[in-house]
Symmetry: C2
Subunit: 275 residues, 2 copies
């Protein structure tokens, strides 16, 4: 310390390191920083690529010279990290608020989180605020969507039930998908995705249901339906609909991206309903 250098050594495990950092390191750094406040905000964006996001928002963030902006790609979403320097906490917050609002305005509904929330947290807030319930019918994601939704404490308020209908028999018996649909269109099809969502909704009595059926690989792909072919279904009181996606990546990434796409599809449907 006499040499003007402070060396802080912290343990590796996040669960030990984080409280130490927040309770002991941060106050000391604040003191040493001598009145410069650094604050950070993370915005999350779905359904757009890194360069498309940058192209749209570069003219905006370049005008904020006191904020450092970086755009990162994280499995299935874009993160926009904003780091502001200011003389007061309040000033840093105000700058971030202004920049975040301008970016959100430019990108529209593609921005799903303004304060670093995960997709499942945002979905949970939307459902809880609107007093709506959700059920999920999964095939290739195998339970990942249910797991993500129930990662959020308190999710039992809006999450009713999930089904992992891996076999065709499960799709028929638990989700009421008919033989005719499976035989005519296949287990990986828009029709099956819609029937899965509608069946799950009727089984659980939830307001909304989402479904996923697809080919996560490495095997199971065909010329007509290669690995990465994924259908997302959605059902509400008005009926069922679906979208088709062609997702790149290995089994892990295809499953992750399918789960994100399903949650994002749900989010956009709820946004539409409450416009």
């Amino acid at each position: 310390m006499d040499a003007g250098v402070t060396l802080i050594v912290l343990p590796g495990p996040p669960r030990e390191m984080q409280p130490m950092f927040e309770n002991f390191v941060l106050p000391r750094l604040k003191e040493k920083a001598g009145g410069i406040f650094v604050k950070r905000r993370i915005l999350r964006v779905s359904g757009m690529g890194e360069s498309a996001v940058d192209e749209l928002i570069a003219p905006i963030y370049k005008a904020f010279t006191e904020v450092q902006t970086s755009i990162l790609f994280n499995k299935s979403e874009i993160e926009i990290h904003l780091t502001a320097n200011a003389k007061t906490d309040k000033e840093a917050d105000a700058t971030l608020e202004e920049l975040a609002a301008k970016i959100a305005d430019k990108l529209g509904t593609a921005v799903f989180a303004l304060k670093g929330e995960t997709m499942e947290e945002i979905i949970g807030k939307m459902l809880a605020e609107n007093h709506k319930t959700l059920s999920v019918a999964e095939s290739c994601t195998g339970g990942l969507i249910g797991m993500r939704i129930t990662d959020v404490p308190g999710s039992s308020r809006y999450f009713v039930e999930g089904s992992v209908a891996y076999s065709n028999d499960a799709k028929k018996q638990t989700l009421f998908v008919t033989d005719e649909i499976i035989n005519k269109f296949g287990a990986v099809s828009a029709e099956t995705a819609e029937a899965m969502a509608a069946g799950m909704r009727s089984r659980s009595g939830s307001n909304y249901a989402i479904s996923v059926t697809g080919i996560a690989g490495p095997d199971g792909g065909t010329e007509e339906k290669p690995v990465g072919t994924v259908f997302i279904g959605f059902a509400d009181e008005a009926g069922a609909k679906s979208i088709k996606l062609m997702l790149p990546g290995d089994r892990y990434l295809i499953r992750w991206r399918s789960s994100q796409a399903a949650l994002d599809y749900l989010r956009r449907q709820i946004l539409k309903a409450y416009e």
Copy 2:
């Protein structure tokens, strides 16, 4: 290179780095190593603590001076890392094989993987080899067990169906848990866990079914059933049984450890059946 130093710079993303390392770096290192072969083996152990494992196997691994042994704790399992140095590939393999066999013999069924396999890979192998099928009924794990099982490519050969019966209605309607059981013993109880497993097995027609019901927190705990109280159920043709666990950790860890305990309980039941 003239200075006798080789510097290899690799990209960060594992998916880019790994093939480069295997195809280009490893052959060069082998050449430079001049006939010293280093090989590694990972054994995985469930249901035992770090120090209990070390106490039992230290006398064994200390006799293998050419092997470096380290014991690591990873969320819900112990990993034993063995690193052997030898003059030939074959010699390193033989040494590791001998040491691994001695450790496995000492620790018995607690060792679930001899070659670094995950719990879900081991379960998959056991089910596929014995031509048995599995279904899963989850409450507090929310889909995590189904997700882990279906992480393994080809799992559709043995995994039939999963249910995330988060609400009591779902437990009743989808898993046939009776009102009487839920009212008398509660949704988090041995009786409910067993009824969930039996109900899932009868719904799916699978050979085995496992179930989990518990309190992952942070809310929902009571004096009688605090956060971390988890019941694991198992059903086969002989009927249903269950175990009770008190798991430490936050929501994330309790859920993860519940999933591991359920898979391990299944593994031990299959082992018993095929003894």
